[in-house]
Symmetry: C2
Subunit: 209 residues, 2 copies
């Protein structure tokens, strides 16, 4: 049976589209996006999901406490028997309840080399700090912002004439690449966690199992 | 006349030796190490300096307040008419007095991609955090720890079987390379600072001046 991915987003969801295309093209073998959930009604990612005939659900968070909201989202994902939750520009911290419900089954992508430049506008932060390299990070998600064990990172050089827009664009290409790779690794169980270090196991070892 | 570099160190001073060799070999043209100062009597870097017939001074910091100590060091550097101060494993924060006395003329090298992993044992911090890339940073020094505008950085991938020692060794090779390059750039005035961003100017532009 195909592995089922649930995507949470709040905006355009370009990483959702990258994952959907990777699954369709077999770069993430034997997997599909089972559902997309947005906390924002007007998130363009919702329309994009529907255009791909992927089920897309808006669950507005207004007026709900964090855990009450997360219970609604978790129920929607569990009903779809989701194996892995991928955050793609999801602008909410997850509650301990949600993290426990999907322990080691939630991934996020962040546009910096964490632990540098967590939070919003990471590309602008990197530029304004004068860093010479930035990049992106796929990590397991815990209760803290942009924390959790790191699965993959990619490095992107910063140019003197970069703006937040040009840098974001170059980082985004790497985001799509490593998010696909990380989802594949995690769905195949091809990793081992020691404290916070995620060791990637070679493909052959996993095929032998 | 040759540009004069003063080196401050507290330990073995491998970056002092790298700079001394780069100056001797012309990779830092028209420059020399005018003096090495250590705050620790038993710093191996002192012996290494003397073996190179470089003047080496121990100024013990014991019992002195930060600024009082820094005034002694600054006086020693000024007596030698130092153009640039290079920290090479110097285990002290500089006082505002010292920073003002050598405004934009103090460089440090740190074994991480700052702002990630400042402080002691940066290589071990990177490993234990599970980062997939680390590296090193040459930056101008201000009153804060491992802060100040970044001149150059280099990236070093972290391997699953790295120990703090193997990672430190690979980073150290990059440290020697970029410290040499950064000292050359700064001595040639081949940079421009905008807020915290250090823009490197091409060599040709500087030759035309």
């Amino acid at each position: 049976m195909k592995k089922r991915i649930g995507v949470l987003l709040s905006g355009r969801g370009s990483n959702f589209e990258a994952l959907a295309e990777s699954a369709a093209a077999g770069r993430i073998p034997n997997a599909e996006i089972a559902i997309v959930v947005s906390n924002r009604e007007n998130a363009p990612g919702i329309e994009r999901a529907r255009a791909r005939e992927t089920e897309a659900l808006v669950i507005p968070s207004k007026g709900l406490e964090r855990e009450a909201y997360d219970r609604l989202v978790a129920a929607a994902l569990e009903e779809k028997k989701v194996d892995l939750v991928c955050l793609a520009g999801y602008m909410r911290l997850l509650s301990p309840y949600f993290v426990a419900a999907f322990r080691n089954r939630i991934l996020n992508i962040h546009p910096s080399l964490l632990p540098a430049f967590p939070g919003l506008e990471a590309q602008r932060q990197a530029l304004e700090h004068g860093a010479k390299f930035s990049g992106c990070t796929v990590h397991f998600v815990d209760e803290n912002l942009d924390a959790g064990p790191i699965v993959l990172q990619a490095v992107v050089p910063i140019k003197d004439d970069d703006t937040p827009e040009t840098l974001s664009e170059r980082i985004l290409r790497e985001e799509h690449r490593i998010y696909t790779e990380a989802v594949r690794i995690v769905l195949e169980g091809r990793y081992r966690i020691e404290n916070r270090r995620v060791m990637i196991l070679p493909e052959k070892v996993s095929e032998k199992r």
